[in-house]
């Protein structure tokens, strides 16, 4: 039953990607894109009622089911936003229909690779899927064919290419460590089988493997000092792609790191991955917090905010334990929803003002109230203020860290506050004051729907998380150890 659903969840975007290659124009593909994403999301919802299961190729447990559903949901809302965004870009002539020839096919292929990475039980398949996700987005980042866009795509390819090369080396080492115990063949690459036999595996090779895997997949997470690709790729590509990069791809990369962390924890004798992750997380948090102050480009600004939040999430999982893991899981979901909502709002704002420069975007709440207040709510949420969900996860993380390691809680709280300052400073300028000039372009009412849907969910999560969801997250937190 479970495996049939997984096959369906993967088959819809794959077939849609293949089909969309054949459909010319951009209106019909945009509609088909929404339909396919909606079908994927509906199919993924049924995963919540199936039993955890594992086959040779796929694994389903509480951990990846929630991420699959989240990915499918944000994939759906972004496809809605993308339809309005792309139509506007065509109207003002910034994109030509020919440049969009493979855009929707690539979008579905991207969703497929992420869902495959999340559901794969085989470490090699997971690697191929993450590599495929890089491939599909490289071409979308350079969609505008501008000098800066091509440079961003080049940087993205070089850094993430090297990153996934190192991750593959780590995967080979992982197989090499397991092979003497489990014998040659597919079993030594299958995650569920590895979990069973892990205690017998040579811990020294595992340590070496994990270092490569953390650096490799960590590049894709955007952890400092390997984050250089992230702001460029977010700023220069079309905004729907920035939304899915930040909201989904970074989560998938963290998921990959965590799967390997679970393997190391199962071994027992290997190094504790926690301190490494705590250090990288704190480094990213502090670096991004300071960098936020010097940004002038609005998409780059929120890209640095993503690095900051990835730092917080990595820190949380590095601390481990039921509370910190719970905070990390909640933060993954909340950041994903909030950040993509912010990118929807930013996409509209940059289209209205015709620029990404922050000093040129002023007084949005006056000129475009629905959009301006939406963006303001998004920034309030991402800054970690109540009553939104990110407040819950950050509060949980800071308090649990204070209880266990007060010395680590200080830099954590400092980093969060530094980033908070930058966000408050910038959002005032963007949302309030007298609007610059008069802009004719008004976003279509329905295209604000994804923004408000996400904000609504984040608000609800901040006020009241349903009991079953809490139980679900507690199960996953226990799985993560």
């Amino acid at each position: 039953m479970g495996m049939a659903v997984v096959t369906l969840v993967l088959a819809i975007p794959l077939l849609a990607a293949l089909g969309l290659v054949l459909v010319p124009g951009y209106r019909t593909p945009a509609r088909l894109n929404i339909a396919a994403s909606a079908a994927t999301f509906l199919a993924s919802l049924t995963l919540f009622v199936v039993e955890p299961a594992a086959t040779k190729w796929f694994v389903l447990d509480a951990f990846n089911i929630y991420l699959i559903a989240l990915t499918a949901f944000v994939g759906l809302t972004t496809s809605l936003f993308s339809a309005g965004y792309i139509a506007h870009e065509i109207r003002i002539g910034k994109l030509k229909p020919l440049q969009l020839r493979f855009y929707h096919a690539m979008y579905q292929a991207f969703l497929f690779t992420m869902l495959l990475a999340l559901s794969a039980n085989n470490l090699g398949v997971m690697w191929v899927a993450v590599e495929g996700a890089t491939l599909t987005t490289v071409l979308m980042v350079s969609l505008y064919r501008t000098a800066a866009g091509i440079e961003a795509a080049w940087k993205y390819f070089i850094l993430c290419g090297v990153g996934i090369a190192l991750a593959l080396f780590g995967t080979i080492l992982m197989y090499m460590a397991a092979q003497p115990v489990m014998g040659p063949g597919m079993a030594a690459m299958t995650w569920t089988e590895l979990m069973v036999r892990m205690p017998e595996v040579n811990p020294k090779v595992l340590n070496l493997a994990f270092v490569f895997l953390l650096i490799g997949y960590g590049t894709k997470v955007g952890l400092a000092p390997l984050h250089a690709w992230l702001p460029d790729a977010h700023a220069e590509g079309p905004t729907p792609i920035s939304a899915v990069l930040s909201g989904l791809l970074l989560n998938v990369a963290i998921y990959a790191v965590l799967r390997f962390k679970m393997l190391l924890a199962a071994n027992g004798a290997a190094i504790a991955p926690g301190p490494l992750m705590v250090a990288m997380g704190l480094g990213s948090l502090l670096l991004a917090g300071f960098m936020l102050y010097r940004r002038r480009d609005i998409k780059r600004f929120f890209a640095y905010s993503s690095i900051e939040h990835m730092g917080i999430i990595t820190f949380a999982f590095g601390m481990g334990g039921p509370l910190a893991n719970f905070a990390g899981l909640l933060h993954m979901a909340m950041h994903s929803l909030t950040k993509s909502a912010i990118f929807y709002a930013v996409g509209h704002a940059t289209q209205i003002k015709g620029t990404q420069r922050m000093d040129a975007i002023r007084g949005l709440t006056v000129s475009h109230p629905a959009l301006g207040w939406g963006l303001l709510a998004g920034v309030v949420a991402i800054a970690g203020l109540p009553p939104f969900g990110i407040f819950m996860s950050e509060f949980l993380l800071v308090t649990s860290t204070f209880a266990r390691q007060p010395l680590l809680a200080l830099p954590l709280a400092a980093g969060i506050l530094i980033a908070f300052g930058a966000l408050v400073l910038r959002v005032q300028q963007i949302c309030f004051g007298a609007p610059d000039g008069v802009s004719k372009a008004v976003p279509v009412a329905w295209s604000l729907l994804p923004l408000y849907a996400h904000l609504g969910l984040v608000l609800v999560a901040g006020v009241w998380i349903p009991g079953p969801l809490v139980a679900w997250f507690q199960t996953v937190a226990a799985l993560l150890g």
């Binding site: 491939l135 071409l139 070089i158 090297v162 080979i172 690459m189 020294k204 090779v205």
Partner: protein, 219 residues
Amino acid sequence: MDIGYDAAHMLGAVVLLMSFALLYQRRIFSVITVFTFQALALATAAAWQGYAQGEPHLYVTALLTLVLKAIAIPLALHRIILRLNIQRTVDAALSVGLTMVAGVSLVTLSILLVLPVTTDAATLTREGLALSLSVVLLGLLMMITRRNAVSQVVGFMSIENGLIFAAIGVAGMPLIVEMMVAFSVMVAFIIFGIFLFQIRERFDTLDLQKIDSYRGESR
């Protein structure tokens, strides 16, 4: 004397030697020629391992390496360089002497890193792993010290050669072919799909220093 061990060892040494040779080439065509030799050595190593381990899928790996990396990619790169009239010399960030010193230190580092932790693996596997880590690190060094898009792509592909060499050396490693195809598709996409043409079209150069001056911030 174990001929199987010696042959595998020698082929690995050739792959590593070619990585060193890549580091000091000044002309872009010699970079491609040296890369071709590395791919040939890798293809032979894969075929030899296929025979030694009795794993038929390694022959597929060998064939793919031969066709894609020793024939198709070098030919395509040659054509692109001629067609686009790209500058034929490569600027390096470090002098040859310093690059060699850095290279030797990286090889020492990988031997010191790999050999102590793999004490219970077979000798050939351990040494193969040390060799392949060296090739990966030398490829990284090449990508750092070269400012030219073509030699960065060649550096990336030599990293990939190191990875394939590691994978064929471990007994019964599954999915090697699939991984190789995934990598090659990526490289092909990057080289032919957009970069060489788009970069050339936009900047009229493949020198990355000039490209790097474009920053989103300065707009």
